[in-house]
């Protein structure tokens, strides 16, 4: 195992992608992820890849679509409004079954919003911001080490399911520094090996009997329906295979928080502080947001839990999934900050105590 290095989040994301075998990166600058394209522009060409600064996010995602359709391993990154612009590409790539790893270092919205951390792209990420029947596996790291590991693995998942995969981080993770242990450099797939490793890829006719095609247009409804149903066979498998979560201190908990990414870290500290005041708190931390770990809610301690609180940097977008997981078994509530404000652990403690008092009445 290699030694720990102190890295800024955005640079660690880029390094993880290169080590995961990414050979192509297309991007357009947007805060708070500018260090990703900066890092890629510096590093990728030196390490056998190609960096292109696109003229817009729409161009970047379509360059990714093209390079990945030709069998390249592609990484793209952006932040909230930029990812909104990329949604057409995400839908097209899901439809055409093209593997790409995308990263959203999200910030406050809606609209141009602000540049401070946000989680209000939850619906965009998990419900699909593009058109049509499709899903994208979404993973939400809460430490830089977890982000590195998730990005590294995401390329394998994207290839396995032939579908885009999204890593959803936020501005805080992009900007902070933390020690990380970097994984081994994976061998890059070279152009001459693509035809044998990815037989579906557009590598030229090359004397094959049947040429490869990549399409997302199906004019006949019965053909389109069949294609969508085929996608959903994959999605049903993904729902079983890609669910990831952690639970902390659920046994005996009075309050169960549900939090992902940056918020999960703040909630961890709030749990300790509540414990010191005699309030036992637990947490469910979804690591996959689609598929969502609904099954985690079955581990909640029925005897002690009084309330399940979705804790997020948005106006309760994840609360919808929390309610599905809870399925009426406990009252649910919401602790949020939005617009780029990240709450302190103290704030979460105070709001939690208010919620508990409200339940007594």
């Amino acid at each position: 195992m290699s030694e720990k290095v102190l890295m800024k989040g955005n640079e660690a994301f880029g390094e993880a992608a290169i080590r995961g075998g990414a050979r192509f990166y297309f991007g357009y600058p947007i805060t708070p992820q500018n260090e990703v394209p900066e890092f890629m522009s510096r590093e990728l060409n030196k390490r056998g890849g190609q960096f292109v600064q696109a003229e817009s996010e729409l161009a970047a995602v379509n360059m990714a679509y093209g390079a990945a359709a030709a069998g390249g391993r592609v990484f793209i990154s952006t932040s909230s409004p930029g990812f909104a612009l990329m949604q057409e590409g995400m839908s097209f790539m899901a439809s055409a079954e093209i593997p790409v790893v995308a990263m959203n270092v999200s910030r406050g919205g809606p609209g141009v919003g602000g540049i401070q951390p946000g989680q209000a792209d939850y619906f965009q990420a998990t419900r699909g911001g593009g058109n049509g029947d499709y899903h994208i596996p979404v993973f939400a790291p809460s430490t830089l080490q977890e982000a590195v590991d998730m990005i590294y693995e995401a390329f394998e998942i994207a290839d396995k399911y032939r579908n885009p995969v999204l890593i959803l981080a936020d501005g805080m993770m992009g900007q902070m520094m933390e020690p990380v242990v970097l994984p081994e450099q994976k061998e890059q797939l070279q152009s001459e090996d693509i035809a044998s490793r990815k037989p579906w890829a557009l590598t030229g006719w090359g004397g094959k009997e049947k040429r490869s095609t990549v399409v997302s247009l199906h004019m006949k409804p019965d053909v389109l329906e069949e294609c969508v149903e085929k996608l959903f066979v994959k999605y049903r498998a993904a729902e079983k295979e890609l669910v990831r979560y952690e639970t902390h201190d659920l046994e005996g908990a009075q309050v169960v928080f549900v939090a992902f990414g940056t918020m999960a870290r703040i909630v961890s500290e709030a749990m300790e502080m509540l414990g010191e005041q005699g309030i036992k708190a637990g947490m469910i931390r979804p690591q996959s947001l689609w598929p969502y770990p609904y099954c985690a809610f079955d581990e909640i301690d029925t005897a002690t839990t009084k309330v399940v609180i979705s804790t997020e940097l948005s106006m309760g977008q994840m609360l919808q999934d929390v309610n599905i997981g809870v399925c009426g078994r406990w009252p649910t509530d919401l602790i949020y900050r939005t617009g780029g404000i990240v709450p302190t652990s103290l704030e979460i403690v105070e709001r939690t105590k208010k919620i508990l008092e409200g339940l007594k009445k």
């Binding site: 102190l6 540049i115 900007q175 703040i266 961890s268 500290e269 302190t344």
Partner: protein, 177 residues
């Protein structure tokens, strides 16, 4: 033990570098660390601050409610952040630029005329390194040797010629091994 630090000043004063140096040194000593900078549209002349946490166990939250040590490099930072020092904690004040006293009476205050000291030794741009030496010495969470080692990493390659003068700036207040 978990030790929380906060560095504040204006953009261009090298505030983030001070925090990074402490985080780097602590990591080299095998400790857990997080470094969280403020970020915004400002560059030189805007405000800059960062939070550094050093611990012997994994760090859950990289943000802080209060700090064991706060370092302020310019007047607005003292006004805004002196309330962040935990009772009994340490407050390092750059008296070269800050001409009023802190209002806190329950914290340990260290006055360092960082810009003047730096100028006196002919290194006007190393005020942050002078302060870093004083902070490292004052809080004692990382060894002097580790901080010096970090200097050789920060000032390498095209900046290698800056290593020796900055070690001199560092060692004005940083003593021992």
């Amino acid at each position: 033990m978990t030790y929380k630090m906060f560095f504040a000043g204006s953009g261009g004063q090298g505030v983030l570098m001070m925090g990074q140096a402490i985080a780097y040194a602590a990591m080299m000593e095998g400790k857990e660390v997080t470094f969280m900078p403020s970020y915004g549209p400002e560059m030189r002349g805007g405000t800059a601050n960062c939070t550094v946490i050093v611990s012997d166990k994994p760090i859950s939250c990289p943000l802080i409610n209060e700090a064991d040590a706060v370092v302020v490099m310019n007047p607005p930072s003292l006004t805004k952040f002196e309330s962040m020092v935990s009772p009994g904690g340490k407050l390092f004040v750059n008296t070269s630029l800050i001409d009023f006293a802190p209002t806190r009476t329950d914290v340990e205050i260290t006055d360092i005329a960082a810009n003047d000291v730096a100028k006196d030794i002919g290194l006007a741009r190393s005020a942050n390194i002078v302060m870093l030496g004083a902070v490292a010495q004052g809080v004692g969470i990382v060894s002097a040797a580790s901080v010096r080692k970090v200097m050789s990493k920060l000032f390498s390659g095209s900046k290698a010629h800056l290593l020796e003068p900055n070690l001199k700036a560092l060692d004005v207040y940083l003593k021992g091994e």
